[in-house]
Amino acid sequence: MTSVPSKRYSDDVSLVVVLLDTNPFFWTASSSLSFSQFLSHVLAFVNSILLLNQLNQVVVIATGYNTCDYIYDSSMDASQSSEKGRMPSVYSNLLQKLEEFMIKDEKLGKEQSQRAIASSLLSGSLSMALCYIQRVFRSGPLHPQPRILCLQGSSDGPEQYVAVMNAIFSAQRSMVPIDSCYVGANNSAFLQQASYITGGVYVKPQHLDGLFQYLTTVFATDLHSRSFIRLPRPAGVDFRASCFCHKTTIDMGYICSVCLSIFCKHHKKCSTCGSVFGQAQSDTSSASDHKRKAPET
C-alpha cells in the first residue's frame, strides 16, 4: 500500500520526437532505399507508436537542407478518424505538411549558395526538438517521457559541429536520450556521439528494406522498458582525440583552455581561437604537466 506519491512520469508513456531527414540531395542519390519506401516505414512506425498507448505523443520535425520545421504533432491532431477509411489522418496530415515544407525548403535554397557537403540541418532540428521537449517539461508535473529519434541519411556537416555538440550536451543535461538510425552509406560521427553521450541507441540498418522492423524492435522501446531490455550497443566508441594540427590520434597532448582545441605539440598561439599561450615549462617536466599547460591570457 506504499504507493509512490506524485510520480512524475507514468511508466511507459513516451513522447517521441522524430527528426526526419528530407535532404533531397541525399535521397535522390540513395539507391538502396527510395524516399517513398522510407516514408512508408516511418509513417507506419509513427502510427505504431501512437497505437501502443493512447497517451503516447509523436512529433515529427523535418530536417531539410536549408531549414527545418515541425510537420506533425499528434497532440494537435485531435481526431483519430480516418479519411474515408483509406488512410489514417495521421498520414495525410503529415504528408500534406511535408509537401509544404519541401516547397519552402526549395525556395529558401534558391537564395543561398550551395555548401560543399550536402548535409542537412541536423543542428537546427535537434534544437527544435529540444525546445519542444523543454516546453513539455514545463507544462506540468505530468508529462510523457521524451526521447528524440534521428532518422538521418545525409552525412554530417562539419560547420554544424559546435551547434550539434551543444545540442547533444543540452539533451544530456535534460536527460533526453537521442536515438539514431542512420540510413546513409558511412557511419555518422555526430549521431554516434549523440547516442553515446545521451544514452540512446545508434543503429545503422544493414537491410534497409526491413527498416520498419528495425524501428519497431529497437526504437519503439519506451524508456521504462529500456531498464530491462538489452538494446544494440555500439561495439565501442573511440574517444581518443586527434590533434587539430595534424589530425593524428594522440593519447596525450596540449589543450587550449579557452576553446579546448587539441594540439600534439606546444604552440605559441591557438590556431582555433587565437589565444596566446604562455611559456611552456621545461620539457623535462613529467607527463602530467602536459595537461596543465594553459595559456596565460
Binding site: M87, L95, E159, Y161, N186, N187, P232, R233, C273
Partner: protein, 636 residues
C-alpha cells in the same frame, strides 16, 4: 588475608560426584594453588587467575556441602569442597577480588596458549573501526574521495549501516580463516591493528555502564497485615532516581540536610510515588489534598519542570531547515506548546489509560537516555546518598557546559550550512568579470578531429565525408522528392510494409548483434560486468576476492621468512590459497556456458596473483633446501 594470601583446607574434586582429594588451597591475588595432603597424590594445581573464567559456589543454608566451583577459560571446572561455610566465604571474597583484578588488566596476548580468544563486543567494535579506517585510507589515490565520504557519513546515522556491512564482511573473513586455523586470531587482527596507530594500544579501560533494569520500578513491599508500605532504597536506586528525575535531585540538594533530614526527604518522596501509582481515584484525590497541605510533597507530584526545560532545549537544537534526524527519537508532542494547536478537548478526551501509556513510555525513554549517557560516578562514591547527589550534580554541571558548547557548535554548523546553501543558490549577483568573446575561426577543426576517430572505429574504409554525387540539380531533386510524397498520398503505404521474410531476417540479425555484444565487456561505462552475473555467482566471486586479498596480504608480509613461525604460517597460507584456487576452478566450470567467458575473465587476475605467490613459494623452497643442504643446521 592481610598479606593477600588465603589458605584453607579443602577437598579438590574434578566433579561433584568425585569423593575428592583432601589438601590445602592457597589463594593469592594472582594465582591459586592446591597441594594435596598425601604427597603421592598426582592431583596438583597451580594456575593463574587469569585463566579462570567464572566461579560459582553453593549457597549457605542449602543442605549441600560448601563448595566453590572455578571454571577455566578452557571450560575445565575445578571444584573445592570446604569444611565450613565460613571458609567458603573467605575464599569466595578472595576469588572475587582476584577475578575482578584480572578482568580489568588487559589480557596479555599469548595466542599460542589461548587459542580461541573471543573478542569482546567492545573490542570487536574498535577492531571493526580499524578495519573501516583501513579500508578508507589505504589504496592510495584511487580512493581519495573515501575519507571525505566517511566524514560525511559519520555525521549521519548511516555510519551504522556501513559498519554493519564491514562487520559482516569481517565476520565472514574471520570465520573462514580463523576458525579453520589458517590464520591465528593474533595474525588476523595484527594487520589491522597497525593501522589504528597509538590510540588503540592504550585504550582506556572499560567503564561499567548503568544497568538497564529500571530500579525504581522495584515495588514497595507490604507485610500484608498492616497498611504499612516499605520502600527499599539503595544508593544505586537513589542515583537512578536523581538521574532520571532532575527535580527530585534539585529538591534534595536544596532541602537536605538544611531543612529536613534525609529520612524525611525520602519518606516524602516515597509517599508521593505511592500516591501517584495508586490506582484508585480517592487515592489521587487524597494525593491532591495532601499536596495542598505539604509543599514539599507537592514538589514531587507535579510534572518535572527541569525535564520539560531540557526537552525544550533539545527542540531548540532542531534545525529550522527541518533536519528530521534530530527530531526522530524524541516525542515532544506531549508538550503543550509544541507543534500545532489542539482543537478543544471535546473531540478526544485522553483517557487515564492513555495518559498512563504516555507517561510510561516517557519514563522508559528517560531511563534509556540516562543509561545511554552512562555513569559519571565511580563505584566508590556509591556509598551514601549525599555523595551520590553531589557527584551527580558535579558531573551534570560539566555536562551542561559541554552541552551548551555542543549547542554552540551545532548552531555554528547550521549557520555555516545555511550560508553554504546560500552560496549554491544562484540568487547572487553575477560576478562582473570581464568577458572576452570566444572567437572560433573554424569549427570544422573540431569536427574533423572527431570524425577522424569516429570513422576509424566504424570499420569503414572510406574516410571523411564523401560529397554526394550531384547528378541531379537541386530543382530536380526537390521535384523527385515531392513526387514520391504524392505517390504515397495517392496509393497509400506499401502494403505489406515489410515481408515476413525480411522481418524475420532483420530480427535475427539484430538478435545476433545483441547476443554478440552481450559479453562485450567494459565498453559501456554504465554497465559493470559483475552486474550482468547472477547474484549468487557475483557474491561468490566477491567473497573469493576478499578472501584472496586477505591471504595474499598475509602471505607477502611474511617474507622474508626469518622464523619457524613464519615458515609454518606461510605453508598454512599456501595450502589455503591452493584451496581457493581449486574452488575458483570449480566455480569456473560450474557456471553456465554463456557466462563462463565473463567469469573466466574475472577470475583470471585472481589466478594470476595466486600463481605468482605459488611460484615465489616454490622458488623459496628450492632456495631453502639448497641452503639447508649447504649448511645442515638450518633453523627448521
Amino acid at each position: 588475608m592481610a598479606s593477600g594470601q588465603v589458605s584453607k583446607r579443602v577437598k579438590f574434586k574434578s566433579s561433584v560426584k568425585d569423593p575428592g582429594t583432601p589438601g590445602r588451597l592457597f589463594l593469592t591475588l594472582e594465582r591459586l594453588m592446591f597441594k594435596p595432603n598425601s604427597p603421592n597424590s598426582a592431583t596438583k594445581l597451580n594456575m593463574e587467575f587469569k585463566f579462570i573464567k567464572n566461579h560459582r559456589y553453593t549457597k549457605e543454608g542449602s543442605n549441600k556441602a560448601p563448595m566453590l566451583n572455578l571454571t577455566s577459560s578452557q571450560g575445565v571446572s575445578y571444584i573445592f569442597e570446604f569444611e565450613s561455610y565460613d571458609d567458603l566465604q573467605v575464599c569466595k571474597e578472595c576469588v572475587g577480588k582476584a577475578l575482578s583484578k584480572t578482568g580489568e588488566t588487559p589480557k596479555p596476548v599469548d595466542t599460542s596458549e589461548v587459542p580461541s580468544e573471543q573478542p569482546s563486543t567492545e573490542e570487536l567494535l574498535s577492531r571493526m573501526n580499524m578495519l573501516r579506517e583501513n579500508r578508507a585510507w589505504k589504496d592510495d589515490g584511487k580512493r581519495v574521495q573515501k575519507p571525505m565520504l566517511l566524514y560525511f557519513l559519520k555525521k549521519s546515522k548511516k555510519v551504522l549501516d556501513i559498519s554493519d556491512f564491514f562487520l559482516y564482511e569481517l565476520q565472514k573473513l574471520h570465520k573462514r580463516f580463523v576458525r579453520d586455523g589458517i590464520l591465528t586470531e593474533a595474525e588476523f587482527w595484527a594487520t589491522r591493528k597497525k593501522l589504528l596507530g597509538a590510540n588503540s594500544s592504550k585504550k582506556s579501560k572499560q567503564r561499567t555502564g548503568l544497568k538497564s533494569v529500571m530500579l525504581s520500578d522495584t515495588k514497595p513491599s507490604t507485610d500484608g497485615r498492616t497498611n504499612k508500605v516499605t520502600f527499599t532504597l539503595t544508593p544505586e536506586i537513589v542515583r537512578e532516581i536523581f538521574a532520571e528525575k532532575p527535580a527530585v535531585h534539585q529538591a534534595y540538594m536544596e532541602l537536605v540536610p538544611k531543612k529536613m533530614s534525609e529520612r524525611d526527604f525520602w519518606s516524602k518522596y516515597c509517599r508521593a510515588e505511592y500516591l501517584q501509582h495508586a490506582k484508585s481515584a480517592n487515592a489521587a484525590a487524597a494525593a491532591e489534598a495532601e499536596a495542598a497541605e505539604d509543599e514539599e510533597l507537592a514538589l514531587f507530584l507535579k510534572p518535572d519542570n527541569l525535564l520539560a526545560k531540557e526537552t525544550k532545549r533539545k527542540i531548540k537544537c532542531v534545525d529550522p531547515t527541518l533536519d528530521l534526524e534530530a527530531d526522530e527519537g524524541d516525542d515532544y508532542t506531549h508538550l503543550p506548546d509544541h507543534g500545532i494547536v489542539r482543537d478543544g478537548s471535546k473531540e478526544i478526551t485522553e483517557s487515564q489509560r492513555q495518559l498512563h501509556i504516555r507517561t510510561l513510555s516517557q519514563e522508559l525513554n528517560r531511563h534509556a537516555a540516562v543509561v545511554l549517557q552512562g555513569t559519571p560516578i565511580d563505584e566508590e562514591q556509591l556509598k551514601d546518598t549525599q555523595t551520590v547527589a553531589e557527584a551527580l550534580n558535579q558531573s551534570k554541571h560539566g555536562q551542561d557546559t559541554s552541552n551548551e558548547e555542543a549547542d554552540m557548535n551545532a548552531n555554528q554548523d547550521r549557520l555555516s550550512r545555511i550560508s553554504k546553501m546560500m552560496e549554491i543558490d544562484d540568487l547572487q549577483a553575477s560576478s562582473d568579470l570581464p568577458l572576452a568573446p570566444l572567437s572560433i575561426k573554424d569549427p570544422r577543426d573540431y569536427f574533423d578531429s572527431q570524425q577522424a576517430s569516429a570513422l576509424k572505429t566504424s570499420r569503414d574504409t572510406s574516410i571523411g565525408t564523401d560529397p554526394v554525387k550531384r547528378n541531379l540539380s537541386a530543382g530536380e531533386s526537390y521535384a523527385s522528392l515531392r513526387d514520391s510524397i504524392s505517390l504515397i498520398k495517392t496509393t497509400g503505404l506499401v502494403d505489406p510494409i515489410i515481408t515476413p521474410e525480411v522481418a524475420v531476417k532483420v530480427l535475427s540479425v539484430l538478435t545476433h548483434n545483441i547476443s554478440s555484444t552481450k559479453y562485450d565487456l567494459g565498453k559501456n561505462p554504465g554497465l559493470s560486468v559483475l552486474d550482468t552475473l547472477p547474484n549468487t555467482i557475483k557474491e561468490e566471486l566477491l567473497y573469493h576476492w576478499t578472501s584472496l586479498q586477505e591471504l595474499l596480504r598475509h602471505y607477502w608480509s611474511s617474507y622474508p621468512i626469518t622464523t619457524t613461525y613464519l615458515y609454518t604460517k606461510v605453508s598454512r597460507l599456501k595450502d589455503a590459497m591452493s584451496k581457493i584456487d581449486s574452488q575458483l576452478q570449480e566455480l569456473k566450470e560450474s557456471v553456465l556456458s554463456d557466462l563462463r567467458h565473463q567469469v573466466t575473465l574475472l577470475i583470471r587476475p585472481m589466478q594470476q596473483a595466486l600463481e605468482a605467490a605459488m611460484q615465489h613459494y616454490d622458488a623459496e623452497m628450492q632456495k631453502r633446501s639448497a641452503r639447508s643442504a649447504e649448511r645442515s643446521n638450518g633453523y627448521t
